[in-house]
Symmetry: C2
Subunit: 195 residues, 2 copies
C-alpha cells in the first residue's frame, strides 16, 4: 500500500516511453529522497518546456524563439529534410553538415492515411523558393515510407533546378556482413562504389 501522492507520481513516470512499474518506482523514490530544490527545478523545467517551446516558423523544429538558432545562423543553400525533431539531434552530433533542416513531421504513408498534404512539404517548397536553395538532402528514414517521401519530394524539386540527394544506404560501419539483413545487403550491393 503506497501513499497516494507517491502512487500518482509513479503513474506519471510510467507514462514515459519504455518505463515499467519498477523503474517508475525507482524514479519516484529518487525524487522523494533527494533535495526539495532540485525537485522544484525539475517540475519547473517540465512547465518551462511546455510554456516556452513552440515550432520554429522556418524549419519546424522545437524552439523557444520564433526562428530557431540554427535557422538564424546557418547557411540556407542546403536544406536537410528529416521526419522528426529527434533526427536533428542525431545528425547534429556528426558536425559535418552546416546547412539548415526542415522537419516534415512524418512521412507519406497510405496505410495511415497520410498523404503529401499531411506533412510539411508545402512549407519546404516555400523555403526552397525563398532562399534560392541549391541542394536538398533527403534524410527521411530508410524504409518504404521514408523512401517514398524522398522520391515524391525529389520529383517536385528537380524541375525547379534544385539538386536532390539522399543519405547513402548500406551496411552500418563496424557491423558484420554476416548479420546484415537481406534488404540492407541487397541495397549495399546495388549501390556499391568503385574504390
Amino acid at each position: 500500500m503506497i501513499d497516494q501522492p507517491i502512487e500518482q507520481l509513479i503513474e506519471y513516470f510510467r507514462q514515459l516511453p519504455g518505463v515499467g512499474k519498477k523503474t517508475a518506482q525507482r524514479y519516484a523514490y529518487y525524487i522523494i529522497e533527494n533535495n526539495k530544490e532540485k525537485a522544484e527545478n525539475f517540475a519547473k523545467a517540465i512547465l518551462e518546456v511546455k510554456n516556452k517551446i513552440r515550432l520554429c516558423k522556418e524549419c519546424g523544429n522545437y524552439s523557444s524563439t520564433e526562428v530557431c538558432p540554427l535557422c538564424q545562423r546557418r547557411d540556407k543553400k542546403t536544406i536537410c529534410v528529416v521526419q522528426e525533431p529527434k533526427d536533428i539531434v542525431s545528425l547534429e552530433k556528426v558536425k559535418t553538415f552546416d546547412g539548415v533542416y526542415h522537419i516534415l513531421f512524418g512521412a507519406i504513408n497510405p496505410l495511415e492515411n497520410k498523404g503529401p498534404n499531411d506533412i510539411r512539404i508545402k512549407e519546404l517548397l516555400a523555403r526552397v523558393n525563398a532562399y534560392g536553395t541549391e541542394e536538398v538532402i533527403m534524410a527521411t528514414n530508410p524504409n518504404v515510407e521514408g523512401d517514398a517521401t524522398a522520391m515524391y519530394i525529389a520529383k517536385i524539386l528537380k524541375p525547379l533546378g534544385v539538386k536532390v540527394t539522399r543519405l547513402a544506404q548500406g551496411i552500418s560501419m563496424g557491423s558484420d556482413i554476416e548479420f546484415a539483413d537481406e534488404v540492407t545487403l541487397s541495397r549495399a550491393i546495388s549501390d556499391r562504389k568503385e574504390i
Copy 2:
C-alpha cells in the same frame, strides 16, 4: 544544438537513477510532444510528493499523514524491520504479512562509519515496548551489513522476551543450482530443511 529549455529538461531527466543521455532525450521529447495538461499534472505530482510526503512518525515510511495507513490499521504484534522504504513495496506485494513495518534507513556499516545510533534502532525499541510486540522479523538485506544489523537488534530484543526471526536465506525459487553463487549455496546447505 538543442534549445535551452529542452536541454535543461534533459539534464533533469538524466539525474534519475540509471538514465543516460539518450533515454533522457526520449523522455524530454515525450513531454514536448504530449499534451500540456498532462505535463502540468506531472510537474504538480513532483511538487506534491515533496510538499506532502514526510516520514510516518511510527514506522518511518514515507507518508502523507502523520501516521501512515499501514501503522493505523495493521496488527502491531509483529514488526517487520527493513532497511529502506522501497523494501516495503516489495514485501507488500507478497500479501502474506499483516503486521507493521519499521524502517531503519540503513544498516550498521563500520566502513561507512554507520553505527547503531545512526539508524532507527532506538525508535524500534520504543515501539516494541509501547505495543507489547511479540515478534520482530528482521528483513534487512542478506549481506554482511544486513546480517550484522539483524544480529545486533536480536541481541537487544531477546532479553526482553521478544521473538526475533530472520527471513530465510537460500537459493531463489525458479533459479538453477548451477548458477547459484557459493555463499548462497553454502547458506542453503547449512540451513537445509527436512522434508
